[in-house]
């Protein structure tokens, strides 16, 4: 195996003290960037590019890559602890992660997230070594119609996010889609529902909405009650390891999350939030107790966290092999590569083999560093929750406002977050689940773009979705999911007594 020989050389380079240091710095910085809401991995990586001018290229890229996957993990921390998703991919983690924290099990949630992320990231990196080239050729077969049908599968999973009432979930799903229509039409360039407000031209931004829905909404809900009991003491908050039976349950979820995240990472143009949402919905479909999702069960954290890290590592494959960046953060990484004189694409492996394999090896090491770094820290993070909630609440609010502002240096985003906070509060009071709206808000623009691209290529004919085999396959999958979900939902709407906490 020639690849493994190269990989060993790569390990030798990546394990040099200097490169190890940069990987560690990257992991720490990335975690911090992920923890700060607003400042996502893309902006964080971009801000640090000038630093890399002064470094040797391999070290520079090792550090930037570490920031990238470090931030993926960091976003989890705030989602679990205070219900504030730091970036899009960790929204789903709020659903069960925060519930676990409220039951005093923040440590276990963060622990399983770290383990799942490690596993997903490592396996995806193995995939990078073994199957990189043939798989990216396959990914290129994805044109707009294939995307659209794949996203339709994602949309059909909205039903999997429904709580007690399928009708309420569909209402919220539709609301998210309506929100996603706001902004300049992606094809004709005409403004829609913008009311001549310039910041609305780009549409309703995702991060302020979820910070409002989840973070601010939660504060308002809690403000009604006696603040003492919001977060349970929990026997051993500092024990970060999940219970043995929880690990056993999680193994399958982690495996599924890895597979899904890896697959989606290969296809340039999806994003990690799609990966984490889809894996959560799939878990619910596979679960024997789907009604328990959203009440703080460990599979609800393990699967999406694994999926988003597997996604993050797999997304490097199309970058390295074809020079195609699949997400904004990867695009920035690509910029850094080019600026350091390394052109991503098929020749990268032959012309700069030493560099590529050192970076790949550093991905394994980086995932391990993250695990080592985070498992002991989990206890410390969880201790944050010992702060009395009436004080913590104020800090969360300030934290959210700064985060929302720092997204685009815009007060409009702060206002948007606060309004969505009120909306989130109302929806919670009325028992409408928030997750479907968030999922459709992510999927809406992607689906619209791919739908209209396809129709523009086919000059208006819908046949394009049915005559291409991959697209047809996904359409059938979506139809199957919808039919089975409707089937399952029927009796459960009658079983009113099935008690389930809403999202």
């Amino acid at each position: 195996m020639e690849a493994f020989q190269h990989l060993m050389t790569g390990f030798a380079a990546a394990l040099s003290p200097l490169n190890l240091l940069f990987a560690t710095i990257g992991c720490v910085l990335g975690t911090l960037i992920g923890v700060l809401p607003g400042l996502g991995p893309a902006a964080g990586t971009a801000l640090l590019i000038p630093i890399t001018f002064k470094l040797e290229p391999t070290s520079a890229i090792i550090m930037l890559a570490a920031i990238y996957y470090g931030a993926m993990y960091g976003g989890t921390i705030t989602s679990v602890l205070i219900n504030v998703p730091g970036e899009a991919a960790s929204v789903v983690t709020c659903l069960d992660g925060y519930e676990m924290a409220k039951q005093g099990r923040a440590g276990a949630a963060l622990g399983i997230a770290a383990i799942g992320s490690f596993f997903g990231g490592t396996v995806a990196t193995f995939g990078l070594v073994l199957v990189a080239l043939p798989l990216t050729r396959f990914a290129l077969k994805f044109g707009s119609p294939e995307y659209f049908s794949l996203l339709l599968v994602g949309l059909s999973l909205v039903m999997g996010l429904a709580g007690k009432s399928l009708a309420k979930a569909l209402v919220m799903g539709a609301l998210g889609l309506i929100f996603s229509f706001v902004g300049v039409d992606p094809v004709e360039g005409a403004p829609r529902f913008t009311f001549d407000i310039a910041p609305l031209m780009d549409g309703i931004r995702f991060v302020p909405v979820v910070m409002g829905f989840f973070g601010i909404g939660e504060i308002l809900i809690n403000a009604e009650r006696s603040l003492a009991g919001v977060i349970a003491e929990g026997g051993k908050v500092s024990s970060f390891l999940p219970r043995r039976d929880e690990v056993r349950i999680s193994i399958l979820s982690i495996l599924r999350g890895t597979g899904l995240g890896f697959f989606l990472g290969l296809i340039p143009g999806t994003n990690s939030a799609v990966a984490s949402f889809m894996s959560y919905s799939i878990e619910r479909k596979f679960s024997r107790h789907p009604d328990a999702f959203g009440t703080g069960i460990i599979e609800g954290v393990a699967a999406p966290e694994t999926a988003n890290n597997a996604y993050a590592n797999a997304a490097l494959i199309p970058l390295f092999t074809l020079g195609l960046p699949g997400s904004p953060t990867i695009a920035i990484l690509m910029g850094a590569l080019i600026m350091n004189g390394l052109t991503p694409g098929p020749l990268l492996f032959s012309q700069h083999a030493g560099f590529v394999w050192a970076v790949i090896a550093s991905l394994y090491i980086g995932n391990l560093i993250l695990l080592i770094l985070n498992l002991p820290l989990v206890g410390w993070w969880a201790k944050l929750l010992k702060i009395p909630y009436n004080i913590l609440m104020v800090f969360i609010l300030v934290f959210c406002i700064i985060g929302a502002y720092s997204l685009n240096n815009s007060m409009f985003d702060v206002g948007m977050m606060l309004v969505c906070g009120l909306l989130g509060y109302l929806f919670k009071k009325l028992d409408f689940p928030l997750a479907p709206a968030v999922l459709t808000l992510i999927l809406g623009p992607l689906m619209e773009q791919s739908l209209r691209e396809s129709l523009s290529v086919s000059q208006g004919s819908f046949a394009i979705f049915f005559t291409r085999p991959i697209s047809l396959f996904f359409l059938i999958v979506a139809a199957l999911i919808m039919v089975t979900s409707a089937w399952q939902a029927w009796p459960s709407t009658i079983r009113e007594e099935s008690k389930e906490a809403q999202v």
């Binding site: 000038p50 290129l140 098929p346």
Partner: protein, 327 residues
């Protein structure tokens, strides 16, 4: 004691002399400017090619003006959010500059449906920085080997050959329209989200011709995944000596994504001139040249006058082409 005070005096004199000397050397430096950091506003997100260009320039510019140069991203609506904010809030005091993307700014200003709250008169040109020439890319498996292959096929099958742009009103969109009117052909124009998407679709064979800028094409061309049929420049591109220009092939067509800096209208001319000269010096900095080359960004300095004239020419071209897609 006495010796120390003499030493102090001498040192002070030397320092004062030095100060005088530097003042004298920078003869055209306006009095009391700059005394605090200068901010450059960017209408696009961190990490894009507009952003990278500004951040690389800022590194060299700060050495020349002796003050930090900050890059501030205000993304949204193809820079319309930033420009609106710049017009309303930036003071004409020389401490806030904006990066403008040409011809994108024209397609905002002259397209009534974008409802612009500013006009070209609100901006004082300072200097141009980057010019990324337009080009047409096809994947290596494509049946088009020359520009003529593409044009002839588009003639034979009107409205069937798909040409991708990176969005309505982008320089690529204007370029497609310009090719259409000059070669008398009709493409099936598909507007894609951004450069990576357009490249992915072209490499996968889902679109026939990818209209975009050379900077984003170089990686795929250098690694042999794709080729460029022609560039929309006055002369051939130095790194692609075998690729013809449209002009050589008989089409009077020059198109690019051009990025330069403006102050708010009404900024004192000495400050504008000082900044123009400082940007010129920064662009001559070997470190700057090297980094921009690696980033695939082609430098093109234009001073106050030349940049102003260039903008006026672009105003006319944009008006004509907007007419073609807004009628």
């Amino acid at each position: 004691m006495k010796r120390t005070s003499i030493a102090c005096l001498v040192l002070g004199l030397i320092l004062a002399g030095g100060l005088f000397l530097t003042q004298a050397l920078a003869a055209d430096k306006p009095k009391d400017y700059p005394t605090k950091p200068v901010t450059i506003q960017i209408g696009f997100g961190a990490g894009g090619s507009s952003d990278v260009g500004v951040r690389v320039l800022a590194e060299s510019l700060k050495k020349i003006i002796g003050q930090p140069v900050l890059a501030e991203n205000k993304p949204g609506a193809g820079s319309q959010v930033m420009l609106t904010d710049f017009k309303n809030n930036a003071k004409p005091d020389g401490y806030t500059m904006a990066l403008i993307n040409v011809p994108q700014i024209q397609t905002i200003v002259f397209d009534a449906s974008s409802k612009p709250l500013f006009s070209m008169k609100d901006f004082q040109p300072v200097a141009n920085h980057v010019q990324d020439p337009g080009a047409i890319l096809v994947r290596k498996e494509s049946k088009y080997n020359t520009l003529e292959d593409l044009i002839n096929d588009a003639k034979a099958r009107p409205g069937q050959v798909t040409a991708s742009t990176t969005g309505i009103g982008s320089d690529d969109h204007l370029a497609v329209l310009d090719v259409e009117r000059r070669a008398k052909v009709k493409f099936n124009i598909v507007h894609l989200k951004d450069t990576p998407t357009a490249l992915t679709r072209a490499l996968g064979g889902h679109t026939d011709a990818n209209f975009d800028n050379i900077g984003g094409f170089l990686p795929s061309v250098n690694s042999g995944l794709a080729r460029i049929l022609a560039v929309m420049m006055e002369q051939r591109y130095s790194d692609l000596p075998n690729v013809p220009t449209f002009k050589e092939r008989g089409y009077d067509l020059v198109s690019s994504s051009t990025r330069g800096y403006v102050f708010p209208a009404g900024t004192p001319m000495p400050i504008v001139k000082y900044m123009e000269q400082s940007i010129k010096k920064a662009m001559d900095d070997p470190e700057h040249i090297d980094r921009m080359k690696k980033a695939g960004l082609t430098l093109k300095f234009m001073g106050i006058e030349e940049f102003g004239k260039f903008l006026e020419g672009q105003n006319e071209r944009a008006k004509q082409l907007i007419e073609l897609y807004r009628k």
